[in-house]
């Protein structure tokens, strides 16, 4: 394929879409599918046929429409009418309402408010195509400019220039660490020529986080294009997407996308007749959270037990099969195409001084509006939780929001005016993490939350290093002792001491960050621990 053919293909698809007056977009990401989206789409198609509107109305499946808590979601172009909690029974009413005459008729689902801050405060860059295009059709991706940036970098930029562009954009790793992406790319690029790899880390595993899943399900080609650009920049000709088996739909759509891209020679040998070859394979994880840790992920791709190993050497130096390997998270790679397209200055103009661009959060928990939000860095926690999220249902009080999953901590309500960026969250004792944001109300026991995450880490520890394997078990037991109201002040000291020990001595990020939920809740909600402490009797506490 050359550029001409690519542009022609895009034009044909746009023309095809323009033939229809109305485009009914049904969310077919995993969230809405679990609310019956497949049946909704089928019955909408049937209703179109019954109404004899096939020539003017198209029903298509698209990616995530964000408002996951109100699925199944259906949006109708050109007026962008959003219907919430749609069921198959609503289909005839939706179709007959298209004429505009029977708007108030019964059987029509609730109409969403697109002006609500939940939507209005979003800034879609990563999710720009999400909910708009059919993720299973490469034509639709190409119709919105897909693969043009790959062509652009191959034809008009040197690898060095690509890396500089990414570096200047200020993009940082969205997996949680926030390592400067440009620097990572430059390191891999600087390694001597030879076999190198690009790996997309799609092993999203934090409880409550589903950003990466949505991106993969909604816009898989964007990841492929981003990986290919990364491959060109660092001198790699092979990419792996490591995706967890719990995401079957994402895997299916990725497989389909790779097949389509190969068919049109957008992946493979001599892409756009250049000298650049790039192939992508999928590796499906078997359900271990620790495989999201990069050295464990590498071991897993190599077919070994997914155990982390000490770094250095870092994967950039010695990764897959000891070759230099670039590992980026899904959301990081999803940012590459827009950065190349709009330029690094544009990207760097969004966000805060040290955190550029946007961040996708999965907003969940005790909050009215749950779903996916993409906001510019620097948006305050209050805007996210109270304005976009609409606060706690039934006029409850927000107590805190947990970010960073089992590696993170909580932000208590008094700090809600903090702008969200990497550094400010670290200062609060939590972390950006991959983007889970779980809202807690005044009824939430923070000790119980700490124990929930410790239970998770205890179960997900690979068992290699002692502090993580045995320490998380003891931390869990200690927290249980508090919740059983059997703990003493000595136990509180022990809890702190062991938390610091596990944090400082564990081998990989899982163990290092495992005590964070404890340390964070101790920092802001120590009175909850104190309240659970039994009066220390002279004899100490019997635990039989």
């Amino acid at each position: 394929m050359d550029l001409q053919e690519l542009l022609e293909m895009g034009k044909q698809e746009r023309d095809r879409q323009d033939l229809k007056q109305t485009r009914i977009r049904c969310c077919t990401a995993a969230g809405c599918l679990s609310s019956g989206a497949a049946a909704v789409k089928n019955s909408l198609e049937a209703a179109v046929t019954v109404a004899n509107l096939e020539d003017s109305v198209e029903v298509c499946g698209v990616g995530c429409l964000r408002f996951c808590g109100r699925g199944a979601l259906v949006e109708i172009d050109p007026h962008r009418i959003l219907y919430e909690e749609v069921t198959a029974e609503n289909a005839p009413a939706i179709i007959s309402a298209l004429s505009g005459e029977e708007r108030n008729q019964e059987g029509l689902p609730v109409q969403g408010d697109r002006q609500h801050p939940f939507f209005a405060l979003q800034m879609p860059i990563v999710l720009e195509n999400s909910g708009k295009i059919d993720p299973e059709r490469i034509e639709e991706y190409i119709a919105v400019g897909g693969y043009q940036q790959l062509h652009h970098v191959l034809m008009e930029m040197t690898p060095q220039e690509v890396i500089e562009e990414i570096a200047k954009s200020g993009l940082r790793g969205r997996g949680g660490g926030g390592y400067p992406t440009g620097l990572k790319w430059a390191t891999v690029a600087k390694m001597p020529k030879g076999q190198k790899y690009v790996v997309c880390n799609a092993d999203e595993g934090d409880p409550g986080a589903f950003m990466d899943r949505s991106v993969l399900e909604s816009d898989p080609h964007r990841i492929l294009e981003g990986m290919a650009i990364a491959g060109y920049a660092v001198g790699a000709n092979y990419g792996y997407i490591y995706v967890r088996a719990e995401y079957p739909l994402a895997i299916k759509r990725l497989e389909k996308a790779i097949q389509q891209a190969k068919k049109y020679e957008l992946l493979g040998s001599q892409i756009f007749d250049s000298t650049f070859d790039f192939k992508i394979d999928i590796r499906v994880g078997a359900g271990a959270f620790v495989c999201g840790e990069e050295t464990a992920l590498i071991a897993s791709i190599e077919g070994k037990r997914g155990n982390p190993r000490p770094r250095p050497p870092y994967p950039a130096e010695s990764g897959l099969w000891e070759c230099p390997t670039l590992i980026n998270n899904v959301e990081t790679l999803a940012n590459i195409v827009p950065i190349i397209r709009e330029g690094s200055d544009w990207y760097a103009s969004i966000g805060t001084e040290n955190s550029k661009g946007t961040k996708v959060f999965a907003l969940t928990g005790k909050v009215c509006n749950t779903g996916l939000i993409e906001v510019p860095m620097g948006t305050t926690v209050r805007q996210i939780v109270e304005e976009m999220g609409g606060g706690v249902p039934d006029s409850g009080t927000v107590k805190a929001v947990q970010t960073g999953g089992p590696s993170g901590g909580c932000i208590p309500a008094e700090f809600f005016d903090t702008p969200v960026d990497y550094e400010s969250l670290l200062k609060l004792g939590t972390m950006m993490g991959s983007g889970g944001a779980i809202v807690m109300d005044e009824n939430t026991s923070m000790v119980e939350i700490a124990r929930f995450y410790m239970e998770f880490c205890r179960g997900e520890s690979c068992g290699k290093c002692v502090p993580c394997r045995a320490g998380t078990v003891q931390l869990y037991e200690l927290l249980s002792k508090f919740l059983d109201q059997q703990a003493t002040h000595a136990d509180l000291e022990k809890l702190k001491a062991l938390s610091y020990m596990v944090k400082e001595t564990s081998l990989c990020g899982l163990g290092i960050s495992a005590p964070n939920p404890i340390l964070s809740t101790l920092r802001y909600f120590s009175e909850e621990y104190e309240e659970l402490i039994q009066q220390d009797s002279l004899n100490g506490k019997v635990t039989v």
Binding site: L538, N539, G540, V542, T543, V544
Partner: protein
């Protein structure tokens, strides 16, 4: 000079630690000049653990209701409680029953499954103390002041631990001679 009130107690253990204590041989005579033995299975015949004990060596883990009651009494009435030997410090061999997960399966294993004839579960409330679900080291039940591991701690270690206590000092529990388990 008033004598130190000295006690030794035997909970769930094999009495090996007490045998080792008796290995102190002639030093026991010297010890007797410093201490008044107020309670001990090998040194006195008192049934009630007295008040105001200065030093008590506790052998054995806490395995049944009697042990539990006694260890609380000991803690209340004792200045310096020494966890004496591995069973007291780690629960050791008696605790190997903990792997069966509770007193009920332990009794069934011992009195029913392994019985040669007339299998029956022992039940004599008020006479035979009930087993606790788990055998516990002493410090998991009450605070302990000094740990003297060993199975058993040999006489030298016992002497080196007691001697400073007689002078009101804390022994230094360090190194192979003092804290090797087993």
């Amino acid at each position: 000079m008033s004598k130190i009130k000295f006690a030794t107690v035997w909970l769930a253990g094999c009495s090996g630690c007490h045998m080792s204590f008796l290995d102190l041989d002639e030093w026991l005579i010297e010890l007797a000049e410093y201490v008044e033995v107020v309670y001990s299975p090998v040194g006195s015949d008192l049934k009630e653990y007295p008040e105001g004990v200065d030093v008590c060596l506790v052998e054995g883990g806490v395995a049944n209701e009697d042990n539990l009651e006694l260890i609380h009494l000991i803690r209340k009435r004792t200045k310096t409680l020494v966890s004496f030997g591995d069973c007291a410090v780690t629960a050791n061999v008696p605790a190997m029953r903990n792997m069966l997960g509770g007193s009920e399966p332990v009794l069934r294993r011992g009195y029913l499954e392994l019985a040669d004839e007339t299998p029956q579960l022992p039940y004599a409330p008020g006479i035979v103390p009930e087993l606790l679900d788990r055998v516990l080291p002493v410090h998991e039940v009450v605070p302990v002041d000094i740990y003297m591991p060993g199975c058993p701690p040999d006489a030298h270690r016992i002497k080196a631990t007691i001697e400073p206590l007689l002078k009101g000092e804390k022994p230094k529990m360090e190194g192979r001679d003092m804290i090797k388990f087993g």
